[in-house]
């Protein structure tokens, strides 16, 4: 402990303004903050300050996402072995997943954090711990087969264009992780969509037999023929309710398990980190729009219209997006009432995009980004309303 303290104390002067590494002071501060609490005392009233810091706030999100990460590793291994038609013990499965996923996570952190440091040095702002959250969320939304260089480009785009050019965390209006994900989706559709990308391939097995890859539930659902309901089609493809809820199906790395997303969301709500207003708004939006579309279902209509809305919450990345992406407080509206509206619109849009737009099997990513753009507008209306309720004091 003493050793670490001494190390930081001895390096401090180098990073002080005017020192040889003065430009990188924010980097020093961010790293020191991981090991040590602040030594600063307040200079003005109020004299005591809350123990909660942004560091702690962001760490809570990371803790809530970690189960999804570990599940994702296991599931990636599981799907790969299943596709190859081989069975193996839990540890080999998990280990294969670790080997597939960890490089993506590490590359994301390396590039994301590097951009944050560079911008902090050039733009002279502090390093916000938000980047750690962005960098854990981003790889979990990727297909496990994503080339490493694409992960690097994606997170770079997300952090730089989605956030830094607007002044860093707190001033961005788009969710940086999703911005990066959307960039990859549109720039490299071959690696980001289709049936093959969602299952990592065992190196040896691929030579012996062709790996059997399966379509994701969303593709199955969208491709339902008029001969049966979507539920039946999903069931035939092996996606019963239990599978969808637990997440053991080919999907992006960490986004498939509705169960773990639900746990994460509940934990974040209990900790007061995520806004329950957004999460409930999302869910209400999905369900309401789902039931609304049910009204139009019937003979000759698209089979997707009559899907039970709760399936929307179980399939694909909806749960992950709701729990961890919509709740990003910065890109969400900054008033409570607006957060209800924001959530509702995201939920409704997700369903609309999924059902009516066969080109985009997954709707939540675009729905969130779209509503990110509208968040300030909803905010503005709410603020106007609240101001009109005040007795003016000018």
């Amino acid at each position: 402990m003493k050793l670490i303290r001494n190390f930081f104390d001895s390096q401090r002067s180098r990073f002080a303004p005017g020192g040889p590494l003065g430009r990188w002071q924010a980097f020093f501060e961010a790293i020191e903050n991981v090991f040590y609490g602040s030594a600063e005392v307040t200079r003005t009233a109020p004299h005591p300050r809350d123990n909660l810091s942004v560091q702690r706030y962001m760490m809570m999100v990371i803790l809530a996402v970690l189960p999804c990460l570990f599940f994702g590793m296991y599931n990636v291994g599981l799907q790969a072995f299943q596709a190859a038609g081989r069975s193996a013990g839990h540890w080999p499965i998990f280990w294969f997943g670790v080997k597939t996923v960890m490089p993506l996570v590490l590359i994301t952190y390396l590039f994301g954090f590097a951009w944050e440091i560079i911008f902090a040095a050039v733009r002279k702002h502090t390093i916000s711990e938000g980047v750690f959250v962005t960098c854990i969320l981003f790889p979990l939304t990727l297909p496990p087969t994503t080339p490493w260089w694409q992960a690097a480009i994606g997170i770079s785009f997300g952090v730089v264009i989605g956030k830094e050019v607007f002044g860093g965390t707190g001033r961005n209006f788009l969710n940086p992780a999703l911005t990066g994900r959307a960039f990859l989706y549109f720039a490299y559709p071959v690696q980001m969509s289709g049936d093959a990308v969602w299952t990592a391939v065992l190196p040896k097995a691929s030579q012996a037999v062709d790996a059997m890859t399966a379509a994701t539930p969303l593709v199955v659902a969208a491709g339902t023929q008029s001969t049966g309901t979507v539920e039946q089609t999903l069931n035939r493809a092996g996606y019963d309710l239990y599978t969808l809820f637990s997440g053991f199906y080919p999907a992006s790395i960490g986004a498939s398990s509705t169960l773990l997303c639900l746990l994460g969301a509940v934990a974040l709500i209990l900790l007061g980190v995520a806004s329950y207003r957004i999460i409930l708004g999302d869910i209400i939006g999905v369900v309401a729009m789902g039931y609304f579309l049910n009204l139009f279902a019937g003979q000759g209509a698209m089979p997707y219209l009559e899907l039970n809305p709760w399936y929307h919450l179980l399939m694909g990345g909806t749960a992950f997006g709701i729990a961890f992406m919509t709740t990003d407080p910065v890109s969400a509206p900054h008033t409570h009432a607006a957060r209800w509206i924001y959530g509702f619109c995201i939920g409704a849009l997700t369903v609309i995009i999924r059902v009516f737009n066969p080109a985009f099997p997954e709707g939540i990513m675009l729905a969130i980004l779209f509503m990110n753009v509208f968040a300030p507008l909803i905010d503005h209306m709410v603020v106007r309303f609240k101001i009109s309720q005040r007795i003016p004091n000018v």
Binding site: G37, P46, R49, S53, N393
Partner: protein, 435 residues
């Protein structure tokens, strides 16, 4: 919260020195009327306000002016007076009886208060400046509760002062033509005898004791925004002046906080040195001396004095060390408004210190500030409007309703100095030419 004062009330002997701190009086421009070495009595004019020479500030002790301490840009920080221990002379003023008060002209009452040097007990919302004696207040608010950690409890400072308080309320009624609102907090009620004087009972935590909070929740029209207010102890001073015809210097002060050797109430005087309350040896090396409550008070060194409005000295740990792996500490003992520490489940007494507990970051819209604001301002939005110099916008947000309680700065995880910014913006707006 650790360090709450007991209700014990100890009377202290008079100190050798007392001081008047003109720069703790809001907005005034003092013009000195004495010089170093002058002899003064209790109640001798020390300085007046250049903006309105009728507003006079009188000596809280009889003796010799020892030194006049100037700060940056010739701000008068302190007028220190050596007290004559044996013979402390008093200036005399006209006393009035309760009956005379009833028949007296309001104008004459105002003049008596101005002459008696106690106009400063009144302040006017929203800027908390001294009101113009020529004007008629829309209302006068008398707050009798003390929710800020830690201020003297009404039931302690009102002991044996019931008659004065009743007289004081009568004075207020005369001044405001019966538009007096007196309130107290239900959780720490004043003595029963005072209840008939009260018009409102409020509930809630700090700052429900603030006249600004009270006004925000009771007002029905913008006309009331410029109400005056007076604190319970200050009203006792005023009542004493008018009833007894002598400049009053009584004060009940709490010494509290987790570093205070013996947290309790003391009966003493205005403007005493801090070392009179807590011996220098007992202050401790790492204690911060906060004159006033923890959320609004000012930090002072151990040679400082109490300001005239202040009624508390809080000693809390500075907390300047950095804690190893504090980020990963479950935090059973770490006080927080959020739910990210186990302390939320800890019913025990928690200790606060003055560490900032985190680096300064950009706002992440966690909404804690707008959840906690007692007057429904959205501090994160108003703050951005202030930074953008959008005067109209931040006034619409209700900046002038801000009671300067400090809670938004307290809860902010990004450690943004919201309250400081609001106070400065209000002060800047107050100094703008009218219109």
């Amino acid at each position: 919260m650790a360090g709450a004062p007991s209700t014990a009330l100890t009377t202290l002997a008079d100190p050798e020195q007392v001081a008047f701190l003109p720069d703790k009086m809001p907005y005034i421009k003092p013009r000195l009327k004495i010089a170093e070495g002058d002899a003064v009595k209790v109640g001798t004019l020390l300085f007046e306000d250049k903006r309105n020479p009728g507003i006079r500030f009188l000596s809280p002790a009889g003796g010799t002016v020892r030194r006049i301490q100037f700060g940056p840009r010739r701000v008068i920080q302190a007028i220190v007076i050596d007290r004559h221990a044996q013979k402390e002379d008093h200036e005399s003023f006209l006393a009035i009886t309760s009956n005379e008060l009833g028949t007296m002209d309001r104008k004459e009452l105002v003049d008596r208060i101005l002459q008696g040097g106690l106009w400063w007990v009144f302040r006017q919302l929203p800027f908390r400046d001294l009101p113009d004696p020529e004007t008629m207040p829309p209302a006068i608010i008398l707050g009798l509760s003390a929710k800020e950690p830690y201020q003297p409890l009404p039931k302690v400072y009102l002991q044996d002062r019931m008659d004065l308080m009743a007289f004081g309320v009568k004075v207020l009624k005369k001044l405001a033509q019966d538009r007096v609102m007196a309130f107290s907090n239900g959780d720490s009620p004043p003595p029963d005898e005072i209840l008939p004087l009260l018009t409102h009972m409020v509930q809630g935590n700090y700052p429900s004791d603030d006249p600004g909070t009270f006004l925000y929740h009771t007002k029905s029209s913008p006309e009331e925004n410029r109400a005056w207010f007076v604190s319970g102890q200050d009203l006792l001073l005023l009542a004493q002046l008018l009833a007894q015809g002598a400049y009053p210097v009584d004060r009940v002060v709490t010494v509290a906080g987790s570093r205070a050797p013996n947290p309790q109430h003391f009966r003493t005087r205005l403007g005493i040195p801090l070392s009179h309350l807590v011996e220098a040896a007992a202050m401790g090396e790492d204690a911060r001396l906060v004159v006033g409550g923890l959320f609004r008070g000012y930090a002072s060194d151990r040679y400082g004095f109490m300001g005239h409005y202040e009624t508390a000295l809080n000693l809390v740990p500075e907390g300047s060390g950095s804690e190893f792996l504090s980020l990963f500490n479950p935090g059973l003992l770490k006080p927080t408004y959020s739910r990210t520490f186990l302390s939320r489940l800890n019913p025990g007494v928690l200790r606060y210190d003055c560490n900032r507990h985190g680096g300064e970051r950009a706002c992440i819209a966690c909404m804690h500030c707008s959840d906690i604001c007692p007057v429904d301002i959205m501090p994160h939005k108003a703050y951005k409007a202030i930074l953008a110099d959008e005067v109209e916008e931040y006034l619409e947000h209700g900046l002038l309703d801000c009671v300067e309680c400090g809670l938004c700065s307290y809860v902010c995880p990004s450690k943004i100095e919201l309250t400081r910014t609001f106070i400065d913006a209000k002060a800047a707006y107050a100094k703008e030419p009218a219109g």
